[in-house]
Structures are given as C-alpha cells and as structure tokens.
C-alpha cells in the first residue's frame, strides 16, 4: 500500500509561494511554533476540525453523522463539543453551510499527483510549478521526496517551503528533486529565535549553510514581526550576504489576518498585536537590497 501524507490543504493559483503560478500543498504538522503563525491548522500533526460559527446555517446535518454526539442543535443553535470530538471529519464532509472544515486529509502520491498536474499549462506559461509547504513539509520528508521525484519526472518546477528545523537527512532526501528552497529565517540570535518559535535556530542555520554549500537555489523569506524580530534584521542581512546561492529575498510583513482561523480551530490565539509600518518595511527591504 502506498504511504500517505497528512495534509491540511491544496491551493491552486498560489502566486506568493515561489515563481509564477503554482499549486501549493500544505502539509500538516510543524516542528516550530511561531507566535505569529498564520497557518495554525498546520501546527499540529493530528487532524483538526475548524468551525466557523458565522457560516453555520443550523441545518443539523452534522449531528446526524457524528458518532460521538459532539455536534448538538440546541435552542441557542449549533453547539460543538471539541472535548468529545475524535476529528473523524464526517461532520465536515456533510456540512451544508461550509462552516466545518476538516484539516488532516490523508493522501497518496498517486492521488495527489493528478491534482497537481491539472494546472501544468499555467506553470508553463508563467514559469510556475508546485510548492510543498505547511506546517513543515519536511517532517514528512519521505513522502515529499517521492512526490517531488514524480513531479520532476513530469517536468514540473518544484519548490520546498521550509522553516529548516528538520534533520539534515530530510534535506538530503528532497535535494535531488527540488528546484528551489523557500527558506524561512526568523531570527539570528538564538535567544530571540527561541522567544519567537520555541526552538533554537542552530540546526536551521546549519541546514541553510549546508544547502548553500550544496549549491541549492535559495529564496530567503524573512517574516518581519515588530517587537519580536525587528532587531534581528541587520544580522540576518549580514548572514545572507555570506551565502552564495541566494537568488531572491522576500520580506513578509506580519499581518493579523489569521485570527479567525485560531478561533475556528479552538486554539489559543497567539498573534502579536503590533503591525508593521510601511516605512519600516521599506527600510528593511533596503537592508536586503530589494
């Protein structure tokens, strides 16, 4: 039987995940936990149900398919009890108002491949391709390697969007089949990195140097989050200049658009309050000669 990956989503017409028009696969599970994470459904490896209360039409369809009684229609409307829910996804599959979304679909390479090839004409005309993202896609590196290989066999440009916090071996598995790594750098100082993500950045920096030494094509992606990593930018820029294969640097100014996702997932919202100012973003871009 084919090995399956657990993913949270597949998005077509992704235009910010590498060059051209791309399809992005979001893998479930991440090795970091960034306070500003905008894809909270990608943090945990276990499946999750998102419930958007504002979209619920109180049709009661979910109550009929829930074996645990986690969904109930009360006089006050729909009540969803997460504590008893086993995240089987049946409710989301039958939701008539698109209020329930299941994150955690399991899929094989052979199931995924035709979906990713649907837009190949667009990849060709725009210089795009397929991006593996997450979560941290390289936590499922064996699957990624197999998928990337199949994509390359089909002539598709491939990108791996990674936080870098994975064993070296994970990179070795995907390296032959990856055209570009979209590599996140969140902080230079270890202490700052721990504050932002919960983990040290040593392995991340080592892996990045390793990829650079291997001649891998790199696009650095620098989230800019005021009060968290604004003092790190100069150091990151200095480090970036020591690398040989950086073909692009992107500054990702922090936004709060993911707030409702946290609510829908029943997760604690860790999003910082302070938003970046345009002038500050421009200044940082200058640091990186963008």
């Amino acid at each position: 039987m084919d090995r399956k990956a657990r993913i949270s989503d597949i998005k077509r017409f992704a235009v910010h995940d590498g060059d051209g028009i791309r399809t992005t696969v979001f893998f479930k599970g991440c090795s970091l936990k960034c306070v500003w994470c905008h894809n909270p459904e990608g943090i945990g490896f276990r499946p999750q149900i998102a419930y958007y209360e504002n979209k619920c039409i109180d049709c009661g369809e979910c109550t009929q398919f829930c074996s645990r009684g986690s969904h109930r229609l009360t006089g006050a409307g729909h009540f969803y009890d997460r504590t008893s829910c086993v995240q089987c996804g049946e409710c989301a599959a039958h939701c008539l108002g698109s209020a329930l979304i299941y994150y955690g679909r399991e899929i094989t390479v052979e199931e995924l491949l035709p979906l990713l090839l649907e837009d190949r004409d667009f990849y060709e005309t725009s210089g795009g391709g397929v991006t593996l993202s997450g979560g941290e896609c390289l936590m499922q590196a064996d699957f990624c390697a197999k998928l990337l290989r199949r994509l390359k066999e089909n002539g598709i440009h491939t990108a791996v969007d990674t936080c870098g916090f994975v064993p070296r071996e994970s990179f070795n598995k995907v390296l032959p089949w990856t055209d570009v790594f979209l590599y996140d750098l969140k902080a230079w100082d270890e202490e700052a990195h721990i504050r932002c993500t919960g983990h040290s950045n040593r392995r991340i920096l080592e892996n990045l140097r390793y990829l650079d030494a291997k001649g891998a094509s790199l696009e650095l992606r620098i989230p800019y989050v005021p009060e968290y990593n604004d003092d790190q930018m100069e150091k990151i820029a200095e480090f970036a200049r020591t690398l040989n294969n950086v073909r692009k640097v992107k500054i990702l100014p922090y936004h709060r658009y993911a707030g409702s996702k946290y609510d829908a997932l029943g997760m604690e919202n860790t999003l910082p309050e302070t938003l970046p100012e345009d002038a500050a973003v421009e200044k940082i871009k200058q640091l990186f000669d963008i």
């Binding site: 028009i21 005309t125 709060r256 658009y257």
Partner: protein
C-alpha cells in the same frame, strides 16, 4: 484631468446633457438659438416634409429626414473643445419614421411574429428584437476617402451598374442625399466654428468638405462626426471606434513627420476620449487595439502604447477597450494593460486573435478576412464590411423547465415548449437529457423561424445609407447593408446561464438517477414550490462539489455537450433570405442575469427563483471554488472556435493576488494559458474595495472570494469583520 484644462473638462462633460446623471436631458443652454431650430421644430419639420414624400421609397425618405436634421439642428463649436456639439442627438428619425415603419411592418406585413415574440419574452425563454446595435463602420475606407470620397465612390459604383433596379436607385439616392447633407453640415459647422473663434476646428472642417482627413486630429474629427451621425441621428450604433492603433497610425506618423508634437497628439486623443465619457452610454463605447499584420507580426505600435498611456492617465472607463491578443503581441504591452486592470480599470477586455480567426474561417471567411476582422460590441466579431446584427438572447434553463413540466413553462404553465412525457416517465438520465436537448432544439427552431421572418424587413424599417456607403460590397451590389449588401450578414443567439443549466443537469443525474435520493417528479414539485420546506435538499445541491467552472468532469462535460449541441444545430443555418447570411451562437448575457432572474423558476443547482443567474461562461455566482486556473480549464473545454460569436470568461481576482511583478506575471500566465487553450475573451476584474464591502454585506453572493497573501489561504467569508476591513483598506490603497 491630465491633458484637459478645467474649462474644457467642464464644457465637455456638460455637452451632451445637463449633468452626468441627467440622462437624455440635453443641455439646451449650450446652443444659441440662431444656430438652428429647436428640437420640437425639427420634429415637426420632418413630419411635414415626410407627409409629402409618402410615395418615395424608404431609403430616400429617411435620407431626406436625415438631411432635414443636419440642415436645421442647432450646433456649437466652442474653442474649449476640438469637437463640435450637435443639439439633435436623441435619434430623431427613430421617433418619427422608423418607429412608424416598424409598426407598419410588424402589424400588417408579418403579424404572426409578435405573438411568438411576446410569448417567449413573457416567459423569459428568448428575446427577439430588431437589432440595430452591433455594426462596425468600415473605418479604413471612411478615413482614407473622407465623406466626399465615400459619396464619389458610391456614385462611381452606381454608374458602373449595368442594370439599375428601382431598389438600387433608391439605395444610391439615399446615399447621395445623405452624404450631400453631411457635406452641407460640415460647411455649417465650419461657419459656426469661425463665428465662435474655433479656428483650428474650422480649418479641419473646411478640409473635410473636399478631402479625406489629412492628419491625426482630422481623422479623430471624422471618426467622431461619423459616430455622432450614425449613432445619434441615423439610428445605428457604431459599435467600434476602429482598430485604433492600426487605422490611425499613418495619421500619427505623418503628423510627427510634419512637426506636430506627441503632446499635441495626446491632448487631441484625450479630448476625443472624453467625448465618450461625457456621452456616457451605459454599454460603454468600444474601441480596439492590436491584432496581426500580414506577415503575422504585431499591429501594436508606438500609438498603441500612447493610447493606453493617455487612457490610463485620464482614469476613465468609457470608451471601453478591447485588445486583440496574439502570439506576436509584445509582452510589455500586455503587461501595461494588465497593470491598468489590476489598478481597477475593468474596461479592458482581451480577445484571442487565433480563436476568432479560426472561428471565422470555420464559418467560411477567408484567412485574410479573418485576420482583418473587427471586434464589435462587447466581445463579438465580424469580418470587415460584414454586419453582425441580430443579437438574440436565449435562456438555457427554460428547456429544463419544459422537460420537467410536459412542455410547459415552470412558472406560468404556458405551453411554450414542445409537448413531452411527464417527469414521472423518464427512466434514466440519458432519456431526460435527450428531452432537454429536444426542447432546446425546438426553442432554437422557433427563434430562428421568427427572426428570419422579421429580419427580411430590417432594411425597409431602418435603411442605412450612411453605413452602406462605407461597405464596398454594398455599393458594388447596390444593396443596403441590412438588406443583403454586406460582405457577411450574421444573426446570433446568445445563450445564457450555461453554468446554471450544467450544474442543474449534473445534480439531476447524480441525485435523481444515480443516488435515487428523490424522483424527478418530486424534484419538479420541490422546484415549483421554490424549495419551500426543502432547504436541506437545496443546501445539498449548493454544496455539491461538481460545479461547472472548477475543472470538474461531470458538469464541465455537460456544459461542453450543450455548447456543441447548440453550435452544431445553429451555426451555418441560413438567416433571413433577404439578408442572405447565416446564424452563429455565443454565450454572453449582458444584463439578462438580473432581468430574467425573477421569471426563471428555481433550478436544480440550488438557485431559487429571483436569484441572480450565471454570467457569460463563468461559474454560477459564488461557485468558482477552485479559483482562476480551474475556471479557465473549465471554460476552455468548450470549443469556442465553433460558435462564430463570443464566449467570455469573467475572472475575479483580489488585489492581493496581483501585487508586484509576481502578480503581473501571474495575470499574464492566466491570460496566456487561456489563449493557448483556445479561449475567446477574458475579462479580469480585480476586486476593488466596493466589491469587498458588498462581499462583507452579502457573503452568500461572494462565497468564492479568496484572500491570498503569501502563505495565507483563506476565504473572505472566513475572516472576521476587522480582518475584512483590513483587506478593504488594502484594496483602497491600490486605487
């Protein structure tokens, strides 16, 4: 406004009406009484004159009425504006002669037409009207010959005829009277320009009385005057201001060579554009750019860029611009247009040169005719000197109503369709789909027979001397453009609501015949009750993933089958014998999505009666769940080259998806893929703040609006109010 002084702007914007909102309220104060008669006096003059001409043929009577207007209307040639003002611009001949002749033909000569027409329109099955809205003047000849040259050529053609019938005499007389009146009118305008101190305009008008236009400004003036005379007096819309960059380029070059500066050219062009902004017709005045040269190079030239740049800097949306895009069209030009679109200019449409050429050649045009074809109307096309009129709309959901109701309309119960078995009788989807097609074929047959009847009389109701003189085939044959004189004479049915029809049929297959969730008779009763008490079923229908426009096999296959069926049935069929042309089909619906929403019963895709119907070949409202690429893949499964007319995809994108160079590359990738896959026309809407606000207020209608910034992938509906406000602000900052 750039290029235009405040005084000129003020004057031009009030030239056609008292204020931009005051439709059809002329600004009488602009015109001095001694420049001509009042509107009421002219209407009386026409009636009095025509009463004494009742023995003469219609082309002559109409030409004399046309002359009466030009000889008597008030005029104004203000130095603040390079283009003269004409007082009598509300189609005076329509209100006098044409409406009377129309009534006479329909009530006395072909009384059988109106009952059919009224029944189909009453039941929102089809519209049928005498279409005088979709012809394109032969701009190359008009600009190379000028008004006197067109008259001279017509007289030459008349002299060359070996046998001149009374109809031909009337035809040539109509042209002579019309064009002599135009030349007198130019003299009158010149004198007025001298009186008002508009020296440059006076000199140009003097030249146009005897010669073809000699420079860029005179060419613009000719285009403008011809447009005004045709659209506002003669009563025939001029549905393109030309293949502008190709037709006007020689004038632009000769001006530059003779010392005219580019700034002067920009200024004239801006004043020209502003006329159409000020006229403000809701359908937008088309003008197009691009196409291919004889050796398959690009038509795009320095003037094309200048055109877009002036248009961009003015920030206007009327005239509207089509770009004929081919493999040779320079990428920087396309990117310039795409950049304008993403900054909110939704008036730019791309049409594929390759697809329309293939389509025209499929319907018998030569390769050269296809290459040089005109874009007319919104996205339609026709060979130069051909006339693509006869635009009718048909509702693809009605044959479904008929098939479910034994041949009767689903709302009125009238027997509009063909008698057929009751819903209880169908054993499988195949037999039901076959009945749907039979009803569709019968409806098409009814429309074709009816339209073919009355289109025999278009040239009698509204003879076209002004237009016909420009068409070489008309003057060679001695026949009116509407009466078989044109090089090609096309009639078209525009089929509406493909997505609703395909999704409904897909649901019927899946839930009635495959899953047997309910019977067809039960479905019929539920639809008749507008889903009352069956909201769950409606939600199941709406939530079904196989919606057209998402690259899903079932609904896309049904849509392609319907398209092939109607095009196979209709295209190439002969139209009215007098016109001697053929039928084509298209898939754009203009405002019918709203107009017919209330008269179209609830449908099996989950749409309730009264809710908006789908537009053009796009997914139903809120159903493009898989985004832009999937929408393009779906629509290009339909063979647009078999239609002979248009097949437009409206694509909605968020500003966040098209920002920066990456965004522009993505837009170009969408367009290039659409063209490569044989698509015909693409209209990209980058949603502005207003749209997002509406999405906030009516989320049901904007289910498919996606927010994509970097890694964020959320639906607009799924984010909270505060976050939505953030995106609205972002959209605002792009304007």
């Amino acid at each position: 406004m750039e290029y235009i002084s405040e005084a000129s702007y003020e004057y031009i914007m009030k030239k056609y009406r008292t204020s931009p909102d005051a439709r059809f309220v002329r600004n009488d104060a602009l015109f001095s009484e001694d420049s001509g008669h009042s509107a009421e006096e002219i209407m009386a003059l026409i009636r009095r004159q025509d009463a004494e001409l009742s023995d003469l043929p219609h082309p002559v009577r109409k030409a004399k009425a046309f002359a009466c207007v030009l000889d008597n209307t008030r005029i104004c040639c203000d130095p603040r504006d390079p283009f003269p003002a004409i007082h009598m611009i509300d189609r005076p001949l329509n209100a006098t002669l044409i409406s009377a002749w129309n009534h006479e033909i329909f009530s006395k000569v072909i009384p059988e037409v109106n009952p059919v027409r009224e029944q189909l329109e009453r039941n929102a099955a089809a519209t049928m009207w005498s279409d005088y809205d979709h012809s394109v003047p032969y701009w190359d000849r008009i600009l190379s010959l000028g008004f006197p040259g067109l008259l001279w050529e017509s007289e030459q053609a008349r002299a060359a005829q070996q046998e001149v019938t009374p109809e031909m005499t009337a035809f040539y007389d109509g042209i002579r009277i019309t064009y002599e009146a135009v030349l007198r009118f130019l003299r009158r305008l010149e004198a007025q320009a001298v009186r008002q101190g508009a020296g440059r305009m006076a000199a140009a008008l003097r030249n146009l009385q005897t010669d073809a236009p000699s420079g860029f400004y005179e060419a613009l003036l000719t285009d403008y005057l011809y447009f005004m005379l045709s659209e506002h007096i003669e009563g025939l819309q001029a549905r393109s201001l030309a293949n502008f960059d190709r037709t006007f380029y020689p004038f632009y070059q000769s001006d530059l060579a003779s010392g005219v500066t580019e700034e002067e050219i920009r200024s004239d062009l801006a004043h020209f554009f502003l006329q159409f902004t000020a006229i403000g017709n809701y359908w937008g005045q088309p003008v197009y750019l691009g196409g291919c040269t004889e050796n398959e190079g690009t038509v795009i030239n320095r003037l094309s860029y200048l055109f877009l740049d002036v248009y961009d800097r003015m920030g206007i949306y009327n005239p509207k611009v089509q770009i004929k895009i081919a493999g040779s069209t320079p990428k920087p030009f396309v990117r310039k247009a795409l950049d304008m679109i993403r900054r909110g200019n939704n008036s730019i449409v791309f049409v594929s040169d390759a697809t329309i050429r293939k389509s025209l050649m499929n319907s018998g045009a030569s390769a050269e005719e296809a290459r040089m074809c005109d874009i007319s109307g919104c996205y339609e096309y026709c060979i130069r000197g051909g006339i693509a009129i006869g635009m009718q709309y048909m509702n693809l959901l009605k044959p479904l109503e008929f098939a479910l109701h034994g041949g009767c309309d689903g709302i009125s119960g009238e027997p509009v369709g063909e008698p057929c078995p009751a819903a209880e009788e169908y054993e499988d989807f195949g037999s039901f789909f076959a009945e749907y097609k039979r009803q569709l074929a019968a409806l098409i047959g009814k429309v074709v027979r009816t339209v073919n009847t009355f289109e025999n009389y278009l040239h009698q109701v509204n003879p076209q001397s002004l237009l016909s003189a420009g068409y070489p085939e008309c003057i060679r044959r001695g026949r009116d453009a509407l009466g078989g004189g044109a090089a090609d004479s096309i009639s078209t049915i525009q089929f509406g609501f493909m997505a609703n029809a395909a999704d409904s049929l897909a649901n019927i297959k899946k839930y009635v015949f495959d899953k047997k969730m309910l019977t067809l008779a039960e479905l019929r009763d539920i639809l008749d009750a507008d889903y009352a008490g069956n909201e769950r079923l409606r939600r199941i229908f709406l939530a079904d993933p196989d919606k057209y426009g998402n690259n899903k096999d079932l609904s896309d296959r049904i849509a392609a089958e319907i398209a092939d069926f109607v095009s196979g049935l209709l295209c190439g069929q002969p139209n009215a014998p007098v016109r001697g042309g053929h039928w084509t089909c298209g898939f754009h619906v203009a405002r019918m999505s709203y107009n017919w929403a209330g008269s179209t019963a609830s449908s099996a895709d989950g749409r309730r009666r009264g809710e908006e119907l789908s537009k053009n070949l796009s997914a139903s409202m809120g159903m493009n769940r898989e985004g832009a690429t999937a929408a393009i893949l779906s629509v290009t499964k339909i063979d647009a080259s078999g239609f002979g007319s248009d097949a437009c995809l409206d694509l909605g994108l968020l500003p966040s998806a098209v920002q920066g160079e990456d965004g522009l590359t993505a837009m170009q990738g969408l367009l290039d893929t659409f063209v490569r896959r044989g698509g015909h026309a693409m209209h990209i809407n980058v949603f502005n703040a207003d749209t997002l606000r509406k999405a906030q207020q009516e989320p049901e209608k904007y289910k498919d609006l996606q927010i994509r910034v970097c890694g964020w992938n959320v639906l607009f509906n799924n984010i909270n109010r505060e976050e939505q406000d953030g995106f609205i602000r972002q959209a605002e900052s792009l304007v």
